[in-house]
Amino acid sequence: MNDEIEEAVEEIISIVNVEREKIEDDLKRFIDYGVPLSQAKDAILHKYGKLSRERKIKDIKANERGINTVGKIIFIDEKEVEVRGEKRKIFHGLIGDETAIIPFTAWKDFNIKVGDVLRIKNASSSEWEGNPRLSFSEWTEITKLDYDIELIKRAPKKYNLIDLKSGLSNVEVRGKIVEIEEREVNIADEVRKIFSGIIEDETARIRFTSWKDFSLEENKVYRIKGAYIRNWRGAPQLIFDENSDVEKLDEEIFRERRVIPIYKVVEAGGGIDLLIEGTILELRKDSGIIFRCPKCNRRTREGVCEEDGNVDAIPDLRIRALVDDGTGAVDVIFNREVSEKILNRKMDEYLSIAKEAMDYDIVTEDIEDKLIAHPVRVYGDSIQSDFIITIFAKDAEIIGIDAEKEANELLASMGD
C-alpha cells in the first residue's frame, strides 16, 4: 500500500511544480477519507493544475494541451493561409532549448523575433510528419524573458545537397560557394544584413542564406553545421546563422552535372541547376503560339492586355509539358528559344503555317505530334508553383537513345 502511495506521489511531482510534503499531506488526507487512490491523484492534479510544471522541449509530444515551456526562437516566418474562406496571417518557425528544437505555429501575432527567449503558457501541440509541432493560439500566454538560454548541441546530421528537403533542421553539409551577395532586409522593423548565394557539392546546387557574416568567399569550400532548410520560391534553400558553425576547408569540389531521377526533385520540393530525363506525356493548354504585350510582356487575349489595354501584341512560342520518368512527374516550361531547338523549327515558320491555315491550333497539333511520347533531357531551375513542381528549362534536347545497346548491357548485368 505504501509503495503505491509513494508511486502516486512521484507521479504527481513529475507533473506539477509543488513540494513533496504538500502532496503527501494532501494525498494522505484524501485516503483517510476513503477516496480511492486514483481519484485522489486526479483531485490533486486538478488542484495544482494551474501550477503545471514547465517542461523541456524534448518532453513535448504530439496532440497535447496545456503545455508550458521556455524556449528560444531560432527562426520565424509569416505566411497567409485560408481558414474557413478567410485569409489569415500566421507565423511559423523553430523553437528550441538545451534539449530539442521543434517547429511551431503561431495563430496570431505575438510580436516574436528571432533570438527571443519566451515563457510559454497553455500552448498545444499537433503532429507534423511524425513529430510534434507547438501551436500558440488565442489562449496561449507568451512573455519575453530577459535572459538567454543555451540551445541543444546534438550532433547535426550529414547530408548531400541533393537530399535536402524543406523542413529539415540541424543539418551538416559541405560545399563550395559558387556565388555570394550581401544585402539588407527588413525583418519586423529591424534592418539586418544577410548573405545569400549558391552553394554546390558533388551531388547538387542549392541556394543559401546566411544571417551572420562568416566572411564566406566565392570558390572556397566550407563545412556548415547546424543549418536548416526551408522552401523559397519553389526550391529548398539552406539557411544558417549565429547558431551554426562554419569552417573553411582546404578542399576542392568538382561537380559533374548528373541526371536526377524525378522523384528526387519532387521529394526535395524543387531545386536549381537540375538535369532530368523523362518522357513528355502531355501538353498543357496554351502551349504553342501565344501573344504578349510589348510593354509588360504579359499574355494578351484577343489583342488586349489586362494592364495596358489594346496593344499591338507580339507573338511568342512557348510550351508547357508534363515530363514523367516513371518515378515522378514535373511540368516543364520551354521558352521560345528552347522550344525552337527541340521542335527543330522556327517560330516564324509556325507563324506562316498558322496564317495560311488561318488557325493557330495547327501549331499546337504539330507540337503534340513532335513531342508526345518522346524522351527529353531538360536542364533548368524550378519555379514557384502550386500544384506540381514546375521547371523552367534553360536548355533541353530530345534524347536519341540506343535502346538496343542499353538492353544488351542490362542483359549482361543479369547473368543467367
Partner: protein, 276 residues
C-alpha cells in the same frame, strides 16, 4: 502545398494482368492503387505497344476497347465516353500500329478475391518503332529494379519502406515492394526473370535461347513471311509447313498464339495470319 502527381508506370501486360491486390488508403479521395506481384504501385500507366484489336462497346456515347500488345502479353485499354477524342484517335489508327497510351488503372472486382485490371485511356498517340523499343527498355529497367528490391526485401526480417530507401531504392518502389511482400504469399520471381529476359531479347539483336520455342518462332515467322499475300496466309497452311520443318503439331499452335501475344503476327481476318 504541392501534391505529388502520380508517376506513369511503364509496366508489362503480363505482370500488370497478374495483379490480385488493390491498395486503398484510409484518407478520403485518395487514389486506389493496383499492387502488382513485383510491387509496382500503379495508379497511372504509360504503355506503348501494338494495337491489335479495337472493339466498339455498347452503351451510351462512344466507348471502345483496345488490345495493346507488348512482348509479354496484351493490355486491355478502354476509351470511355468522357474522353471521346481518345476513342476517336484509336479508331483512326490502322491495325496493327504502334501506339502510346497514358491512362489510369481501371479496377473491376466483381466479387471478393476476383480482380480484373485494365487501363482507362487519357491520351493516345500513334508512335514509331524507336519509341516502342525505348519503352520496352524502360519497362525492363523498372522491372529489374523491382525484382532486386523484392529480393532485398524478402531477405529482411522486417521489410520496411525506410530500410529499402536507406539502401537506395526510390520511395515509390520501396512502398510498392513492401506491400507486395505483405499481400502476395508467394512471388514467383523466377517466372518474371524469364519474362524480363525474353522482353529484353526482343530489342537486342543478339537473340538468346531462353526457351526452346524461340527457334520454332523464327521458323514460323519465316514461313508466314514467305507465304503471306496481301490478306495473309491460311492458318492450316502455316501449321502444315511448320510440321514439315520438324516442329510438333501441338507446339506449332502454341507458338502461333505466343507470336500473336507478342504482337509479331495478327489475324487480319479469322483463320488468316499475317506479319505485323
Amino acid at each position: 502545398m504541392i501534391k505529388m502527381r502520380e508517376p506513369a508506370w511503364r509496366i508489362f501486360a503480363a505482370e500488370y494482368n497478374d495483379s490480385m491486390h488493390v491498395a486503398e488508403s484510409k484518407v478520403e479521395k485518395s487514389p486506389k492503387y493496383v499492387i502488382t506481384p513485383l510491387g509496382a504501385k500503379v495508379n497511372r500507366l504509360y504503355i506503348v505497344g501494338v494495337l491489335t484489336d479495337l472493339e466498339e462497346m455498347g452503351g451510351e456515347g462512344i466507348r471502345r476497347k483496345a488490345r495493346i500488345s507488348d512482348p509479354t502479353g496484351s493490355h486491355i485499354v478502354y476509351a470511355e465516353t468522357f474522353k471521346p477524342e481518345v476513342a476517336g484517335i484509336l479508331a483512326d489508327i490502322q491495325i496493327p500500329s504502334y501506339v502510346a497510351i497514358v491512362g489510369k488503372a481501371r479496377i473491376y472486382e466483381p466479387e471478393e478475391g476476383v480482380l480484373y485490371v485494365s487501363v482507362r485511356a487519357e491520351i493516345a498517340k500513334e508512335v514509331n518503332e524507336e519509341i516502342r523499343k525505348y519503352w520496352i527498355l524502360e519497362a525492363c529497367k523498372n522491372m529489374a529494379l523491382r525484382i532486386d528490391a523484392i529480393k532485398e526485401g524478402m531477405n529482411m526480417k522486417n521489410p520496411s519502406v525506410a530500410n529499402l530507401v536507406e539502401i537506395g531504392y526510390p520511395t515509390i518502389i520501396a512502398e510498392g515492394v513492401v506491400e507486395a511482400i505483405k499481400l502476395y504469399k508467394e512471388i514467383d520471381i523466377e517466372h518474371y526473370e524469364i519474362l524480363l529476359k525474353e522482353a529484353l531479347s526482343f530489342i537486342t539483336s543478339k537473340k538468346i535461347d531462353i526457351k526452346k520455342n524461340l527457334e520454332g518462332e523464327e521458323k514460323i515467322l519465316k514461313i508466314i513471311g514467305e507465304m503471306q499475300g496481301n490478306e495473309g496466309v491460311d492458318w492450316e497452311k502455316v501449321v502444315e509447313e511448320a510440321i514439315k520443318t520438324g516442329i510438333e503439331k501441338d507446339s506449332v499452335e502454341e507458338i502461333i498464339y505466343s507470336l500473336m501475344e507478342k504482337g509479331l503476327i495478327y489475324e487480319p481476318q479469322l483463320g488468316k495470319i499475317k506479319l505485323v
